[in-house]
Amino acid sequence: MSDPLPAWIIAARAGDTQAFVRLVEACQAGIRAYLSARLSDRHAADDLAQNAFIISYRRLAEFRDGESFPAWVRGIAHNLLRNHLRSRQAQTPTQDAGSLSILDDQAERMADRHDEQRLVETLRSCLAKLPDDQRQLVHARYVSEQSIEELCKSVGCKHSAMTMMLHRVRMRLRACVNDHLTEAAP
């Protein structure tokens, strides 16, 4: 079947918000992954993604038919992200402990090299391969959003031991993701 996006765009341009909701459903994963890879706060990333879609709805008249709609929204999201990072920089003093620009730059390079949505999908398949105890830890930390202190209490370990346990999970996932991406490379 051919791409349904153009028909939804036509309907959304005429004010059909339900057609636009379908567009959002089709494109949101990539936009949210793009922003999530560049922001430490997942909820802030989702807020920006939501704003990006709302702005794109208001500016649908400017969208040129035949171009990629997800790429267009991604451009809007990119501008919002830039403004968000700028305003955060302006609001926080230079001695702020919350940012480490070198690390952010490295992360940006990694995200630029790969399609973020594909990274999320690869990460999902790697999560399924984790041993049970590590998968449960990931669930407690990222789904139940438990703090390190809560995790320490339930597992019975020190703060530093817990941060290291989580770090080992990340390293395992990183190795798995890199293997997948290397295998898939042409």
Partner: protein, 461 residues
Amino acid sequence: MTASRDDRLGAWLAGDRGQGLKRDIARDLAEDADFAARAGELLVIERLLGRATQADDDEGAFAREVGRQLDAPDSGRRFAQAVHRRIFLPRSMLRAAALVMIGLLAATMWTWHQRGNADADADADADESTIAILRPGTARCELSSGTSPGDWIVVAGVRTLHRRDNLRVTDSPADISYADGTVLTLLPGTEVGVDDLSGAKNVRIASGSLSAEVAKQPSDRPLVLTTPHARVEVVGTRFTLAVTARDSTLAVSDGAVRLITGIGTTLVARGGSARADSEGAFVMRTEAAGGPVEAGTEVVRRFDIAAGATPSQWSQGRVVAKPDGSGGNCLASDVDEAISPGMMAACAVDWRSGLFRHAADDQLQFDMRTPPGAERLIVWFYDSTSDRGFYAIIPTPGASTWSRATLRLSAFAADDRRPEGIRPGDLLSFLRFSVEPKPSEPFHLDQVRIVRIPPPNSAPP
């Protein structure tokens, strides 16, 4: 014991934010480029873990939330309500009254500010200029204005309509009259939104039916009617448009109307009708097949499919049933294109000089009569230039009546799922029609042709 680089990075990624830790990690990253690259990858993993562990239903919830925000009353009013809630908290009534005044003033100024911003965005915000007149007659009409969407008020008597006004008619018909004499008659149960985009009349039909008598419109600014399934462009004619949740049906009684969906465009002429479904596919019914045809290049003259295998008139290729009954082949010179047993097919082929070269905006047009049981028609082209196949699927009318379909070639999907479509100049050598599931009676095709529409404003030949 001294913490290692990975200990420090692990603590940082887990959320520890000490100035000493930050200084140490900054030094670690500066000293070792490999470590810095690895740390960047781990940070991306950390950030995406939240996304990767999200449940699937979150995606639908996210989209619905965007929709809810778009449908919500304007944020200026919400701000005013928030101020209103806050200002009644103080104990002193006097102080409360003063705060009410300040709050209202702030809300008003904020609303003005918002309106200014919106105007600066040059978006289609509501303005006060009249675009049409509503004549409800005896009908009960409800109006939701562009400046306060969602607030429905009952309308009695003639009144002006402005940009982004929404209207619903609950009992007898009501008319929308434009200054140029165009009249849209909304039938009971119809809900529409009106707008004016750069001088072009624009009507969105959410549900219901309307009939229209349209005065001649400027060719570059046609009256545009949009339904959830299609867009209808009208230059001047009489027609009716019925919209349900499932599809939109257009019937033209005078002139011609162009129906546009995500799949293609078709021109519905006097006496014809067309239906577009939620997938964007459409079928067109004409009063009689084989009537006057538009200028175009005929590729295939005419053929019928008998017993699912052999076209009776076919100048370029023929479908031959396999002796074992496992289907058929499309045969022409050195061609042996397999037809699966689950389909009934017809084909055209010319490997030497090709059937035709594709030009931008080329449309494949044909009339068909499909028997009950055939649910979809698949049209498939082989592009010799790119060595790739392209296809389009349309639902069949499901009755033994003739219908006409017009498909834009540039909207055909690629077999290999690559995004690039058929390019202008490509040589198309093979064309196959097939219906599925295989019906018990034959299906018929007629007037198969490529319609080449000259670009707008081009000089006549």
